[in-house]
Amino acid sequence: MGIETENKEIEIGIRENAKKLLSEKQVDVVIGYSEGTVPLSSTPIIIRKEEDVDKLVWNNLCYINIARYLAPLMPQLCDSEGNSLKIGIVAKGCVGRAVNILATEKQVNLENIKMIGFNCNGNVNRSRIDLEIGEKEILEILIVDNDIIVKGKDWEQKFPYDEYINELCKVCQVKSPSATAESCVGECQELESIHDEFADVAEFETKSAEEKWAYIKEALEPCTLCYSCRQACPVCYCNLCFVDQNLPVWFGKTTELTDVIIFHLIRAFHLAGRCVACGACSSVCPVGIDLNIITRKLEEIVKKRYNFTSGLSAETVPPMMDFSMDDEEEFMLEED
């Protein structure tokens, strides 16, 4: 079955479920994805009326994690008194995970949320396609059979789909949300254990310290500290981010390499055990920095140390909110 037909099926499923939820008054609004205004993108949309559900789409360009709009809650999702409306959310696997994380952190109330689940089939790696297309203008993007066809004024280029999806989608194990039955409609799975091999991280780890530093330096060099990655991240919801604190100023705001690396290092640290591996940060990066390897490393650390995969359930306490007497402490200095 081609990607095309899969997408159509998913789209129909989403629309049917959204329509059902709205007509039965189970939800007041549905957040989902709609056709983007420019090629290679999609736009989040808030649906309030049944007849608008046909605006919802699924086209492998829905790279934004729409759980971002739940914490802090957008004004559009509140009633006149500022209370949360009943929200339906079109949830691919990582959106479901983010909702669960937000629920464990008491940022959302799962009672107000219905997830419209489906089996996500991955997202196109925009920055990679952008890079290969170069300066040419993209007018249209189509997915036919298992190819991504990018069309311009008088040119056309073909990319194999399996190769040109996000790196994180390639290794993704959580294709659909795993939520309790009450909060989930459509295809939702119970995901008890996830087997992840982390071969990519292991490969990176074979490098020497100098090589790693050189790699990180080169990768982060173009960063302009625009904080797009932070804004797109579904679990970065602090009122005052550490980089914005000015009493005291912890870190410089220049684009000097030290400041850039520190921003990414501390942001990664804050995401330990919380990152849901949606890849939104890399997808929105205007200079195309690939942060996936850091994301993967975080997943590996919490899996290895605390046997935890973020966002699989709203009940498990995340490792950084917890402690235990018998944690590993091999990194501590000890007398010989």
Binding site: A209, W213, G252, I262
Partner: protein
């Protein structure tokens, strides 16, 4: 800070690391005190900052120290289970574990940032571990990766 740079350049073989040590008020700081009172010799490379608990040590402190030009960071707290605030050091331990792995992942030498436990009765242990940490940082040489140019 400028003086330090000049000094380093002049006497390279005589270079001594400067290490900032965050010691918890209840165990390690008292441990350091005991080491001093007992006349136990340990390297003078550490500069001590007293913090209420190892759980108070924000990772920013560690990173900020490195950008400000310290060659190493040492963090010491009560042994697990002995924390004055019951679980501060257990929370800190998880944080340090992740920070330690991330620093290594980013290619910072893992020996730059050291963690240890020392109780108020362990002056001897405190001195030994400070010696060990100083030797580790000495072998790594001056901190150049994170240091800001103006420091």
């Amino acid at each position: 800070m400028t003086e330090t740079i000049v000094e380093e350049k002049k006497v390279d073989e005589k270079w001594e690391p400067k290490i900032v040590a965050f010691l918890c008020n209840w165990c390690s700081y008292a441990g350091a005190d005991l080491a001093g009172v007992s006349r136990i010799q340990y390297p003078p490379n550490i500069r001590i900052v007293r913090v209420p608990c190892s759980g108070r040590v924000n990772p920013y402190f560690i990173i900020k120290s490195l950008t400000d030009g310290w060659d190493g960071v040492l963090i010491s707290g009560c042994h697990p289970g002995d924390c004055h605030y019951i679980s501060g050091n257990l929370v800190a331990r998880r944080r340090f574990a992740i920070l330690h792995e991330l620093l290594e992942f980013f290619g910072i030498e893992p020996g730059r940032v050291n963690f240890m436990w020392a109780s108020a009765a362990e002056g001897e242990r405190f001195a030994t571990l400070v010696k060990k940490a100083t030797n580790i940082v000495k072998k790594l040489g001056p901190n150049t990766k994170f240091k800001k140019e103006w420091c």
